[in-house]
Chain length 287, copies 2
């Protein structure tokens, strides 16, 4: 495995491998890899001849009061983990390498970004789409892998790829959880012992809300039950806990077939997100 830090080197490798007819699977990450990322890499490994992972903490998707500077980074550890699951190339550019110039052209995420995580993180998804578009153009993958954990992000990237005709497939991989149900996240390391013990309440709440919603069909009642569970089991503040149609992220109607039930909760100072996607029959949807 090789770690690449410059765009010039990456492009020369991509050109060579594509000329040799190799399919490319791409796993974009912000590093500090956990099992969730490795699951994405495994999926990419199975379906492609070459696997490229990017490790780049993208400043344009962090707000001024967010954790860009303190976001955990450990390239050495990440390199070992990526190698262990068969990644061929890590692309780990500097901020200057990725953003040497700015002519003022922006990708603006629009209405799908105004709810859920987008509502409390203005500009976040503009930054996500910007870096994803750049990385897609640099890596030229056949398939790109994203975790369902960031369900709103996946919906937006699917929309970007569809509406702008990017020549690649978006693959969504289910959430990987700890044994007690907590969704894996780089940010879990911020939790105190007590906070970590309470955090599974988020997923428990989502399961309660799903059951309530499927039996009674009432969005408001389902959200209330889930919120009450989180507030009784943690000292957390609920940022949002909502149900939308999936993947178009519109209000639920009688016609909606697939649902996204998503939550963001501050456990102490750490903001955790989780979601479940399900159909009217109660099955987890294949997204």
């Amino acid at each position: 495995m090789r770690v690449i830090e410059t765009i010039a080197e990456l492009k020369s490798i991509v050109k060579e491998e594509k000329a040799a007819g190799k399919s490319i699977g791409f796993v974009p990450t912000m590093g500090y890899l956990h099992e969730g990322h490795l699951t994405l890499a495994n999926a990419a490994r199975k379906e492609n001849e070459l696997v490229v992972m990017s490790i780049f903490v993208n400043p344009t998707q962090f707000g001024p009061n967010e954790d860009f500077d303190s976001y955990p980074r450990d390239l050495e550890r990440d390199t070992r983990l990526a190698e262990s699951v068969g990644v061929d190339f890590i692309f780990a550019p500097s901020v200057k390498e990725m953003y040497p110039s700015n002519g003022g052209i922006k990708i603006v995420a629009g209405r799908q970004s105004e709810i859920l995580c987008g509502a409390s993180r203005p500009g976040h998804f503009d930054g996500v789409l910007q870096v994803v578009a750049k990385l897609f153009h640099l890596v030229e993958p056949d398939r790109a892998y994203f975790g369902q954990k960031d369900a709103q992000q996946v919906a937006l990237i699917q929309t970007l790829v569809r509406d702008f005709n990017f020549p690649l497939e978006v693959r969504t991989v289910p959430i990987v959880r700890e044994e007690d149900g907590l969704a894996k996240s780089s940010r879990n390391v911020y939790l105190s012992e007590q906070e970590r013990a309470n955090a599974p309440a988020i997923f428990e709440a989502l399961l309660l809300a799903k059951e309530e919603f499927l039996s009674k069909g009432d969005v408001k009642g389902a959200v209330e039950i889930a919120s009450a569970h989180i507030l009784s089991k943690t000292d957390g503040n609920i940022d949002y806990l909502e149900i939308y149609s999936y993947p178009d992220l519109q209000a639920v109607t009688e016609e909606t077939e697939h649902f996204l039930l998503a939550a963001a909760v501050y456990i102490g100072k750490t903001r955790l997100i989780d979601n479940i996607i399900f159909s009217l029959k109660g099955e987890t949807a294949n997204v």
Copy 2:
């Protein structure tokens, strides 16, 4: 030569030709081809194994009071002309084929779009960048060809390709002129005989302004001389006549080395644009 109307067919051809290792030159147009377009196709023909031309009058770059409906179209004639200069494939999709869905994600052109043609055509360059990004993803060219006639458009597309790392080269081809200096344009067919006789005053004015600017270094004086020439020789209304640095389209300073002198003039109801790009030494810049 083949005319392709669906994205599916285009993608299958692009995939096949790229797998065979062929280089692709791409000439995006709105059709009603004139010598300017054919010059672009000739340039593409010289540098690539395969030449794809798109013919698509893009609705998203026209304002509500602009000439989308009356924009001239003649696919049969275009097909003959394109074939005569060795184009391999024409991609001529319907509006529905290009825009079947809209999730609300936009490319916003930013500060370079707020001057010149952009100032009087709000949203125009957003639409241009949208369709160009889509076409780049569909055709996957090695090189894309644009006429210098639309100098602001070229500057914006160069910025898009640079800042979003599109894997292709933008080639700029000089303006093709009639014998009396009028820049070739699909819109010249709108001119009455008298208007056509007066229209070369636009290019004459640009040459006068360039001389004045190079000898006295005074932007305002140069613009005044050129404006006076146009107003004395035509019944036209000047939309703009301005000088900027090129290709960054900022105000001229002591450090500016390359200049864009650009005009848009209504001759009767027909809006014509023209420009010259030059260096301090008076040479036409190689853009």
